[in-house]
């Protein structure tokens, strides 16, 4: 039976999911000229809703939307984790929508475009689906929104309609769909074992059932979070328009994976250690692989793609070691979801602004950004610092929490200690590598491409400024929120 939420907060959570969907329908039914402003408007409304939820948030609440008897098919859950992540995905969605107004037009030097309705409609659906995924309380709901985000990412990655873009789009869709089979299995098993789809029902399972369900969720999470062996869709997804890449890689698509895994662990009431071992091992392998792949990249977006893979691996690592009893690592991982979202969005949007104005995003051709484009230069530097985890930028604090948690549990398992050491090493090496490009691109005399760059559109400037501020503040917000 379908029931509507009764409390104010759960009603808002439902609205945060539905408003963007409604916006997408409105965009589809009106002429193209209005699309970008409608998208902007609906995204803004969703941000307001998310902010109200955050401010009015008191106690954890849960409501069943569709259920039959004891079987919960779809429901909403509001707790500190879901509200924080929802705030990130929705507000970054809004910033991306705002940025796209300045980016998708004839003035773009790399991809002149007119900003089709398709783009804005799917972007809104994406925001709605992300909000739905974050708030949903059932595995089947996660599966539904998982697949919807997959379809949206397909439409957006293939937006330029070149054969290569369409192939990359199909790759993203198919790879993540294959991974989604994990969620199919998890949902089916949970239903067979417990007769309900609620994620919290995982806690009632026996240890071996729990392990199977959580590992199935983990497989799906690898797919979306571009972890080995499902990583191959992500670097190719760089064919997307840059604002989309930013959204996919920072706040939405890849965060689906870590979020569903986090939610599964959170609801499991103590997961079996095997889940932690599998998760850790794959995270470390991915981490090393991602770092090695940094080295040959000269396309800024591809470099960022591999950086996303390693950052997500760090989050996965944090979640996995929390299985061994480290609450700090779990909080660190959640905070890192939040911080990485802002830092990586900033990085991508700076890359987008550079390709918009200078027509290239090849790192060797970008020199002396600071003298010609101070805002972009500062943005570049802040983003690099935040991603590499340099204090006082946000990435530091959450990574620190993860490593501290790692050392805490590493005392009992020497292998975990080795893993933590590897992760720490990777973090330092990443910092060195980013420093290298930072030194090459930011100071000095402008290269030809930079010297002839066009002015940066206003909305892009606004968005980058906001994100620079957030790249410092986000970890304080996360730390305060998670306590």
């Amino acid at each position: 039976m379908i029931t509507l939420p009764t409390t104010f907060l759960t009603f808002l959570a439902l609205a945060a999911t539905l408003v963007p969907f409604i916006g997408a329908v409105v965009i589809a039914s009106l002429p193209r000229e209005h699309a970008k402003w409608i998208c902007h408007g609906f995204a803004a409304v969703t941000v307001v809703i998310a902010l109200v939820i955050a401010f009015a948030f008191g106690n954890d609440s849960h409501v069943v939307l569709i259920g039959f008897g004891d079987t919960e098919v779809l429901g909403l859950t509001l707790d500190r984790v879901s509200v924080l992540v929802a705030l990130a995905v929705i507000s970054i969605g809004y910033l991306v929508a705002l940025y796209s107004i300045g980016y998708l037009n004839e003035g773009n030097r790399e991809h002149p475009d007119i900003g089709r309705r398709r783009f804005y409609a799917f972007l809104l659906v994406f925001i709605g689906a992300m909000a739905g995924l974050v708030f949903t309380s059932t595995v089947i709901g996660q599966l539904v929104f998982f697949e919807i985000t997959g379809a949206c990412s397909w439409a957006l990655i293939g937006y330029y309609e070149t054969p290569k873009a369409l192939r990359s789009a199909a790759k993203a869709l198919l790879v993540t769909h294959i991974a989604s089979i994990g969620l199919y299995v998890a949902a089916a098993l949970l239903f067979i074992f417990t007769g309900t789809f609620a994620v919290t029902a995982i806690a009632t399972l026996t240890a071996s059932q729990k392990a199977i369900v959580l590992l199935a969720i983990l497989v799906a999470a690898w797919g979306k979070s571009a972890q080995l062996p499902f990583h191959m869709w992500l670097p190719d997804a760089m064919e997307a328009p840059t604002p989309v890449s930013a959204y996919l890689h920072a706040a939405s698509m890849v965060k689906v994976g870590v979020y569903i895994f986090a939610r599964g662990l959170l609801s499991s009431g103590g997961a079996p250690e095997i889940v932690g071992w599998v998760g850790c091992t794959m995270a470390i392998i991915t981490l090393v692989y991602g770092f090695v792949m940094y080295l040959p990249q000269i396309d800024m977006k591809r470099l960022l793609a591999y950086s996303t893979i390693t950052q997500l691996a760090t989050i996965m690592f944090g979640l996995s070691i929390s299985v061994f009893g480290s609450d700090l690592a779990f909080k660190g991982a959640i905070a890192h979801i939040f911080n990485h979202a802002f830092g990586k969005t900033l990085f991508f949007l700076v890359a987008g602004a550079l390709s918009y104005t200078a027509g290239t995003r090849m790192l060797p051709q970008l020199r002396g950004i600071l003298s010609k484009k101070p805002l972009l230069g500062i943005g570049f530097a802040c983003a690099a610092m935040a991603i590499a985890g340099v204090p006082p930028f946000s990435g530091f604090f959450s990574k620190f929490a993860i490593f501290a948690g790692g050392f805490e549990v590493g005392k009992d398992h020497w292998l975990l200690m080795v893993f933590v050491a590897i992760a720490l090493l990777e973090s330092v090496a990443t910092f060195a590598w980013f420093l290298k490009w930072l030194g090459q691109c930011i100071p000095g005399k402008p290269s030809e491409a930079i010297a002839n760059a066009a002015p940066t559109p206003f909305t892009i400037q606004v968005v980058i400024t906001v994100l620079i501020v957030m790249s410092v503040c986000s970890s304080f917000i996360a730390a305060w929120w998670l306590g």
Binding site: L166, A170, I178
Partner: protein, 540 residues
């Protein structure tokens, strides 16, 4: 059984419409009159099928002609499919056939034949879904071939005539096997029943199934499965299907794929129910499961390599029918309910997509995916509808096919077929790749330079819009009456009409446990069924 006029009425309406149109000379008929009669017939069919559904939900089993016609929850599901999809494709036909008339592809005479045979085709399908007499069931399925063959070949071109010819030959041969099966069951029944006349009625056979000879029933079921499986497009006799479904006018393709295949499946399900009662579920389930799996695998591969839009869709139908068969083969209340729900969902989604392909044909004059480009820019509404259909059929939420696919998957995991289910989902990923190809190649992309912008007419868009809405609604929440019918029907198939309150997993779709037992009261209780339900309660 409740004596009722409705089953007769629902048959008489299309028959009268068909004979009226076909027997009146063309010069006395305007196209308008043909369309009027046609609309009258399809609307009445929908109303009557809804009436029958209401009557079944109220606890009756309408029956007429001395039990020759009999409608229960199982039959009514298929009647509703015929009625609703018939209405939508019928309404779509108006715009489509007018377009063909203007283009000179058809003349007034052929338009009259089209509408006449459309109603006749509906009549034969309705007959197969209402038949209680097993010989009449066979006759009806055979008659659907004849009724639809003329529609397949209506354009009179070489390729369409060839397709129609192939269709008639293969299906007649195939359904002849079905006749052997029918006769074996009948002979078997006539031997053991006190009143041999009863041996021809499905209901009395079902009641006395325990008396039937098991080895004869096994042989009969093999014949039935191969025979009617030909008509349903199951592996290995599906070769006629892609030709016939792609050459027919698009609304008819929608009917063939969406409805006719299900009618043949319905007959298989009737026999499947008999087998469960007489020889237990194991033998029929294994056979259906194997054929279904092979259908999915072969069709997914062939689907991917097709270059012709409608051929692609035809292979997708084979795949989905195979998947429905897998659901039946998995058995259990969940598997059967999921299979029935998947029949409904696939009918709606496939009708949407075939009619959408009709818009492609109207707009571009070809079905070659290499030549159809930029649909979204030239004909935005058709493009969006095509995209919705493709996403729905590839099993993406929030559309309906996802729901039933997930249910079949759950049934499979529950029955312990882990590897099989993962493999099948893998093959469905191949299908997704194929649909993505359609969308990215034809719906998106840049149209040719001199192509004219403008969508096809409203008459062809509105039925598609309604179908798309139904696809979406069935994806969100299955309406309670349909959920009740599905759960009652699966109880009929599985013979779980026992007085114990069944707490079955498909209570997912409404708490109908108590009523199921009451409604299926005329069927006998078997220990096997009781064991099955006990097991369900346990896992719950």
């Amino acid at each position: 059984m409740t004596p009722s006029l409705l089953p007769i009425l629902i048959l008489i309406v299309p028959l009268v419409a068909a004979l009226g149109l076909l027997l009146t000379p063309t010069r006395n008929l305007t196209t308008r009159t043909c369309e009027g009669v046609h609309i009258g017939s399809i609307v009445l069919i929908v109303l009557l099928s809804l009436g029958l559904a209401a009557s079944v939900l109220a606890g009756n089993h309408p029956s007429s002609l001395g039990g020759w016609l009999y409608v229960d929850a199982l039959g009514v599901i298929f009647l509703l499919i015929i009625g609703v999809v018939g209405l939508m494709t019928g309404l779509y036909s108006i715009g489509y056939i007018r377009h063909d008339l203007e283009e000179g592809l058809l003349d007034a005479h052929r338009v009259k034949i089209y509408y006449g045979f459309f109603s006749l085709f509906l009549f034969t399908m309705l007959l197969s879904a209402t038949a209680n007499n097993i010989v009449m069931m066979w006759v009806a399925v055979e008659a659907t071939t004849l009724g639809s063959a003329f529609l397949v070949g209506i354009y009179g071109q070489k390729s369409s005539l060839e397709a129609a010819w192939k269709y008639v030959i293969i299906c007649t041969v195939g359904v002849a096997f079905g006749l052997y099966g029918t006769v074996l069951v009948f002979a078997n029944g006539a031997e053991v029943l006190s009143d041999p006349h009863q041996a021809v009625l499905w209901t009395s056979l079902a009641e006395n199934a325990k008396l039937l000879d098991p080895s004869l029933m096994k042989i009969a079921f093999v014949f039935v499965l191969v025979g009617f499986g030909t008509k349903a497009g199951l592996f290995p006799m599906y070769a006629w299907l892609p030709d016939a479904h792609s050459e027919a006018p698009s609304p008819v393709s929608g009917l063939l794929s969406g409805v006719l295949l299900k009618c043949a499946l319905f007959v298989i399900i009737r026999y499947y129910a008999l087998m469960i009662r007489s020889i237990g579920p194991e033998f029929p389930q294994t056979l259906i499961l194997v054929l279904g799996t092979l259908s999915v695998i072969v069709a997914a591969m062939l689907f991917y390599v097709q270059k012709d839009l409608k051929r692609k869709l035809a292979y997708s139908s084979v795949e989905h029918v195979g998947f429905i068969a897998v659901g039946l083969g998995l058995g259990g209340p969940l598997g059967v309910a999921a299979a029935l729900l998947h029949s409904i969902n696939h009918s709606l989604a496939k009708a949407l997509l075939f009619c959408g392909s009709g818009n492609v044909v109207m707009k571009y004059g070809t079905r070659d995916l290499g030549k159809v480009k930029g649909m979204l820019r030239l004909a935005p509404a058709s493009g969006v509808l095509l995209m919705v259909g493709a996403l729905a059929l590839s099993g993406f939420p929030p559309f309906n096919v996802f729901v039933s696919e997930f249910m079949i998957f759950t049934a499979g995991i529950k029955a312990g077929y882990w590897i099989l289910m993962l493999v099948l989902l893998g093959f469905f990923t191949v299908t997704i790749a194929g649909f993505v190809q359609i969308i990215s190649g034809s719906v998106l992309g840049k149209p040719e330079e001199n192509a004219k912008v403008g969508d096809v007419g409203k008459q062809t868009l509105i039925p598609l819009g309604i179908l798309a809405a139904m696809v979406l609604i069935m994806g969100f929440a299955v309406p309670t009456p349909i959920a009740r019918l599905v759960s009652q029907a699966s109880a009929i198939v599985l013979d779980s009409g026992d007085p114990i309150v069944v707490k079955a997993p498909w209570s997912l779709f409404g708490n109908e446990e108590a009523t199921v037992a009451e409604k299926a009261g005329n069927l006998i209780v078997t220990p096997a069924a009781a064991a099955e339900t006990a097991q369900n309660t346990e896992t719950k």
